[in-house]
Symmetry: C2
Subunit: 149 residues, 2 copies
């Protein structure tokens, strides 16, 4: 089996590593990375509890970090990998950033942006949904099961 480090599977695994870091911090385990020209230019995980800030979703942090890296606010050449479907806040930030491509894992039937129609993201943003969704959803299920026990 040929394995390229430049595959979507590789990058989603990196996003999952970030999600695991959130899990360890008792944060809802969502991780995200931004890739441009095969380089990871931003990586983070949900920190809303640690920072006591509802805006500290993984996606928001990597959008800001990627823009800093690039030196411009538009992420048209970037791909953002995130382990869970973005909420409306994060999807709208991706719209403003004119994100090139979004790859996300587990669906979020309650708060995911796709509940609000197909006009939330920028029309130029390519979307891959449900990528590695089992691994991504399993981590979320494990987190919330721990909360219920």
């Amino acid at each position: 089996m040929v394995f390229s480090v430049f595959s979507d599977a590789y990058y989603m695994k990196e996003a999952l590593k970030e999600a695991e870091k959130a899990f360890e911090l008792d944060e809802v385990p969502v991780g995200a990375i931004v890739v441009v020209d095969n380089y990871i230019i931003a990586r983070s995980h949900n920190l809303t509890e640690r920072l006591m800030d509802v805006t500290a979703h993984a996606e928001m942090q990597v959008i800001t970090a990627a823009a800093n890296h690039i030196g411009g606010k538009y992420l048209t050449d970037c791909t953002l990998f995130v382990t869970v479907e973005p909420c409306l806040m994060c999807a709208t930030a991706m719209h403003w950033a004119q994100l090139g491509k979004l790859v996300y894992g587990a669906q979020d039937p309650k708060k995911g942006f796709s509940n609000y129609g197909d006009k939330i993201l920028h029309p130029q943003t390519e979307v891959v949904q449900g990528f590695k969704h089992k691994e991504c959803a399993e981590l979320m299920a494990r987190f919330f099961k721990g909360k219920r026990d």
Copy 2:
């Protein structure tokens, strides 16, 4: 005429002062403040160009700043004044923060959250729309007129 410094008009004037600062920086002129118990605990203006960051809307900054001030991520006792109707990103951040009250000025028929139904904000959030909308819209019109000239 009796004038209370604790009126919505007073606070919106402070938000407009912030919007004027954005105007001076050649940023889309939106200003926001957060008030709790009659105290302004956060104030800022749009800085998306200056920070090269699409997430640097006035509202996002004051939500983060207010949470820092309070020491908690929920803004249930807070009122957020903003000169222009929030976009979906900012309105969803307000939802996550369970904002107590939102007072906004000019409508945004293109990007305002109210274009997406009445379920975007938290159900507990009281909303006052169109407050001092003439002054708020005038500043926006002046800004964009300058861009077209």
